[in-house]
Subunit: 216 residues, 2 copies
């Protein structure tokens, strides 16, 4: 029987830069994680809570994506995390070319891992390949349990979910089992880490997963 | 001295539909409010908390914008709010044409107000005119105080800010004065309503503002 030919859309220039990023990372054996979540979902706080312990296992750097300001980069810089800021202007997501600019200036030969914190947005960043090894979905329990089915694309594409701000569960009308069920409904196999950056609960479990991503 | 000529970008088709919406609303003397905020910032909960009292002052309907699902519309329908669902597919914002479809099916002659709840996204919806009378920025205190300067466009363009989930302030490292200062830094004159949909605090003050928008 004749083979079915599959043609896939190339999103022009962005895909080309994403491919360049993948080659650059492969050449230096560096893993790149693309962290995506709503504004205020706790992406930077997660990195703050994890940076000390992560630096004991891996050599890593962070690329901070934001529409404006260098505030998030400053927060990590204060913790001695090597960090660059990527400013998108009005763009609602990081593109692969801007990430390439940040990557190219890193000393990749001496790194194991690059963590990209994307622009705060549960929608658009999922649609733009930056050449990452894996996407991580960050969802805070304050956002409500139904977000995985209301914004399924990210949860479908991600390789892990980090459910943040679990220290606030006692004060919220948040049904944890429903939320886990909604995530499973969209992506049945995905690992889910329940984390509080404030108390540190669950951070180690997530970091074990991150370290394993590098050692695959 | 010669006058400076100003040329403004017309965003093609979207602007044309936005203009149609404005004409349609003006013809029936209906005000349209465009509510914008992150996923889980409390936009639907605000409408749930306000619907009863609002219906005592004005005849209103809601257009619910979402990427997928009719969940938010169902929440309001359960409270007897007249509501239609606008599904954007993968689009991260409502466009004016889709809003026009929703508007055209409403009995505008018997309405004072249409409330549009945009897709959960602090960025993109601000960039797309839907022909609204005013934009309302919804920010929850769980998102952190710096969001107005990190995502300034919406706060610059909005006519009011609703700061939600204030019942959680006691459990958060959230500096209210800083947040108010950041909002003022972007938009010095804007009214700010501190609201808890859970306790009902502040809802009346916001509704007074909404009713005044109709009676201008």
């Amino acid at each position: 029987m004749q083979e079915i030919r599959v043609y896939r859309e190339i999103h022009g220039v962005n895909e080309e830069w994403a491919e360049k990023n993948r080659l650059l990372l492969a050449e230096h054996n560096v893993v790149m994680l693309n962290i995506i979540g709503s504004p205020g979902s706790g992406k930077t706080s997660l990195l703050e809570a994890a940076s000390d312990r992560l630096s004991q296992s891996l050599k890593f750097a962070v690329l901070e994506g934001d529409v404006e300001t260098t505030r998030d980069a400053e927060r990590l810089h204060a913790l001695n995390v090597p960090v660059s800021q990527l400013i998108t202007g009005n763009a609602c997501h990081l593109n692969a070319k801007l990430v390439h600019a940040g990557l190219s200036d890193l000393d990749l030969e001496n790194l194991d891992l690059v963590i990209v914190e994307n622009v705060g947005n549960l929608l658009c960043p999922s649609q733009f390949d930056i050449g990452e090894t894996a996407k991580i979905a960050v969802l805070s329990v304050t956002e409500g349990e139904d977000k995985p089915i209301k914004y399924p694309l990210l949860f479908r594409e991600a390789s892990a979910v980090v459910l943040t701000k679990t220290d606030l569960l006692a004060y919220l009308p948040f049904n944890l089992d429903s939320c886990l069920g909604y995530i499973r409904q969209v992506n049945n196999e995905i690992p889910i880490f329940q984390v509080s950056a404030t108390t540190g609960a669950g951070v180690d479990e997530w970091l074990d997963w991150v370290v394993k991503m590098r050692k695959r």
